[in-house]
């Protein structure tokens, strides 16, 4: 309860939460407000925002409603960001936990692999994965998860290293608990809080990665994604720059909201670090 009180005392954290809830509300209400396919033709192409009450945010190059695409895009961004984060954190905690708990050669091998993933630029690996497995919603999400796990793995490993010889773990060992029980049941719950806070960073980066991929037309072209719309708007950038501008603001607001919430959680859970 203390943590919640501390969270709401920070204006930045509250703003972040409000923005995030607004984006989530957009994602939920998309189907109700815009029952038609957001990628279907809706009217004349390139209607400027605020000129036609039917299209408050205007239409894109091929006459599709931008507002509808923004609402549905919130779904895609949150979905890809969320699922990719779960994948990255799951792989990361697992690898970090085993490396930190066992140490020795297990740690050596796992950390070598982590290092390899960190040496190869994220986005280049993402391009390779997309080149190999194609760019559907599922493959893109999994690919983003796969390129994002090293940081959570390192964090989990560091936590495990500091926790593995504490009294409560030794007590468990004396009670005859098996390694897996100790790792999952005893140490992991204690190691998890910083990792969960870090998940907000992973999520922010995942949303940015997906939008960059979509902008390059390497993400799923059959869904209304903000990055897709920016890429499309690039063709008419000279005059109708609003087609690219509007979805960019949506991405900015979402990533900002996720980061603010993450930072707020971090400050609320580690009050001693707050002064920094």
């Amino acid at each position: 309860m203390d943590a919640a009180k501390r969270y709401f005392r920070s204006p930045a954290a509250v703003i972040g939460l409000v923005l995030l809830l607004a984006v989530i509300a957009m994602a939920i209400s998309a189907g109700v407000l815009y029952p038609r396919d957001p990628l279907a033709l809706a009217g004349r192409p390139l209607v400027w925002p605020f000129t036609n009450p039917r299209f408050p945010l205007g239409t894109d190059n091929s006459g599709r409603d931008i507002a509808a695409q923004i609402f549905y895009g919130a779904r895609i961004s949150l979905l890809i960001g969320g699922v990719a984060t779960v994948i990255a954190v799951a792989i990361g905690t697992l690898i970090g936990a085993f490396a930190g708990y066992y140490g020795g050669w297990v740690d050596n091998i796992l950390m070598r692999i982590t290092e390899a993933f960190q040496t190869l630029p994220n986005f280049v690996l993402l391009l390779v994965l997309v080149a190999v497995f194609g760019s559907t919603l599922t493959t893109v999400t999994i690919a983003i998860g796969i390129v994002s796990w090293p940081a959570p793995a390192r964090l989990t490993r560091a936590e495990f290293l500091s926790l593995r010889n504490r009294e409560f773990v030794q007590a468990g060992r004396t009670l005859g608990m098996r390694d897996l029980q100790l790792i999952l049941g005893e140490i992991l719950p204690n190691a998890l809080p910083p990792v969960i806070v870090y998940a907000s960073v992973v999520m922010a980066l995942s949303i940015l990665l997906e939008s960059a991929l979509a902008f390059l037309r390497l993400s799923d072209p059959n869904v209304a994604s903000w990055g897709n719309l920016i890429g499309l708007g690039r063709d008419v950038l000279r005059v109708q720059w609003y087609v690219s501008a509007i979805p960019g603001i949506a991405i900015l607001v979402t990533v900002l909201a996720v980061s603010l919430v993450g930072q707020g959680l971090n400050d609320a859970l580690n009050p001693r670090l707050k002064s920094r």
């Binding site: 390899a116 040496t119 080149a131 960059a212 950038l237 501008a245 960019g248 002064s275």
Partner: protein, 325 residues
């Protein structure tokens, strides 16, 4: 000398990592639909199965996967990255042609982000929780959340289309031939917007780290000593705090080298710069897997080299590191 030995040992330790990456990506690319020959045949406008078979034999693609891998690594040891069928040149040549704009862009962005991150970080830490700090920290958060390609597009709209101050893309003006200083100025003008675009997110990260690191060092005892012996604030900051506060910033250069290279893929596409990142994108689109693998190798190598340099810098900034080694 000891510093070089220490950094050298870390450099040697990264060679297995490099091979791990190459083997992994090589095996991964085996799963890709279509190979070099398919891409080549598509460029030629199709052909019969016999030609395809001949070509596969010529490129050694009829061998088993382990044999192909051994072949590739053996060529690699002699710095031969294979042949790009799309560009009709050796991959090494294609990459070397594309490397300079990327290196230039990365160096410029890094310098921009590092310098302004440092300055803003120091300003924010000197006025902690007052309005300059709030302003800088807020801007940092917004820059961090800004998709770089979007910022680039908006910068083009503002500075190239409306104000017409700067070129919208390309590496240099190909309309007229320039030499010497005029060519340098021309290239610099072309690189202003890409540098800002790529550097923005790193500026946000650097200023945040610099601020935190300054606040931490400012609380240490030796700073109190420096103040107590009567030094004014400027001298305390520039001569005592800065050097120690810089350490995390330098670490970050090494950690972010890969991210920066990845970011240049997007930025080079926005500004149609003929660099390595754009080459990576093109080779994905054109299914030029040989070139893609070459880029993987070169970019991993680049990250390793940057980290080597960072190790040296680090030891220079903090003598304790080489003393302990």
């Amino acid at each position: 000398m000891r510093i070089i030995g220490l950094a050298g040992r870390r450099l040697a330790a990264s060679i297995p990592t490099l091979f791990l990456i190459l083997i992994g990506v090589f095996l991964l690319l085996q799963l890709a639909p279509g190979d070099t020959v398919d891409a080549l045949m598509a460029q030629m406008g199709g052909g019969d199965a016999a030609t395809a078979h001949e070509l596969r034999k010529f490129y050694g693609l009829d061998l088993s996967v382990p044999a192909q891998l051994a072949n590739y690594l053996w060529h690699l040891v002699r710095l031969d990255l294979g042949f790009s069928s799309i560009y009709g040149k050796p991959v090494a040549t294609v990459i070397m042609e594309r490397l300079p704009p990327t290196i230039l862009l990365m160096t410029a962005s890094l310098s921009f982000a590092f310098f302004f991150g440092l300055v803003f970080g120091v300003i924010a830490s000197r006025a902690v929780n007052k309005w300059p700090d709030t302003l800088i920290s807020t801007l940092g958060l917004i820059f961090y959340a800004t998709p770089s390609f979007w910022f680039g597009l908006m910068a083009i709209v503002a500075f190239s289309i409306y104000l017409q101050w700067l070129p919208a893309g390309g590496f240099e003006d190909i309309g007229e031939v320039r030499t010497g200083i005029f060519r340098i100025i021309d290239i610099a003008r072309h690189l202003i917007l890409p540098t800002l675009t790529l550097g923005l997110i790193f500026l946000a990260i650097y200023l945040r780290i610099m601020r935190a690191s300054m606040l931490e060092v400012l609380n240490l005892d030796y700073v109190r000593t420096a103040r107590a012996k009567g030094l004014d604030e400027t001298r305390v900051v520039t001569q005592h705090v800065l050097r120690n506060a810089l350490l995390p910033m330098v670490t970050l250069i090494g950690l972010q080298a890969g991210t920066m290279l990845g970011g240049s893929v997007v930025v080079e596409s926005v500004f149609s710069l003929p660099g390595l990142g754009r080459l990576a994108y093109e080779s994905v689109i054109q299914r030029d897997l040989n070139t893609l693998l070459g880029i993987v190798f070169v970019s991993a190598l680049l990250v390793i080299v940057v980290n080597f340099v960072v190790d040296l810098l680090y030891a220079r900034l903090d003598p304790r590191i080489s003393a302990e080694g």
